[in-house]
Amino acid sequence: QKEVEQDPGPLSVPEGAIVSLNCTYSNSAFQYFMWYRQYSRKGPELLMYTYSSGNKEDGRFTAQVDKSSKYISLFIRDSQPSDSATYLCALMQGRRYSSASKIIFGSGTRLSIRP
């Protein structure tokens, strides 16, 4: 079983729709949960990170973590064509130098916003 599972998509929605992107994970030791956006042929860009359970909002983006279910989500409101990209979830156990500070990435979900 992979440590992180992410639906690869592709996911296509009309402009203005609410988008929900999700990941599940198996290791309950993960404490840091990140979302990255990656445009074609570019490096990943950190969108936001959450520590432990709960919600975090940044503009049109909301990250949600449910540690009891081992399930994380990213919601995009009022989606725009410029949001078309691959979205990667990423998890880490701890922030200090140890094997726990490796970042484990999902395989990414390709998102397309239709004008």
Binding site: G43, P44, E45, Y49, A90, K102, S107
Partner: protein, 113 residues
Amino acid sequence: DAGVTQSPTHLIKTRGQQVTLRCSPKSGHDTVSWYQQALGQGPQFIFQYYEEEERQRGNFPDRFSGHQFPNYSSELNVNALLLGDSALYLCASSPSRGLNEQFFGPGTRLTVL
């Protein structure tokens, strides 16, 4: 702030050759991590450098080695290239007190023929 920079942008090598990729971290960052990203996959952790030492390593063979310099820049070396080493190689930098806040460079696309 130039952010994380990597060179070269693209590289074509043949099997058995050796390659060196370079990375300059974001200003204020002292930790550099390297990742391999195959097409359609998420990045896979190769190793991480801090204070010029390899701090941790992913499941990659010894053909993959690295170095960090006193100015925090870093190199990734791959020996005896295989076709399967063709991928996007990403460098990410972070502050040592916030390893979860990794900022990525644009990557080096390596093609092995």
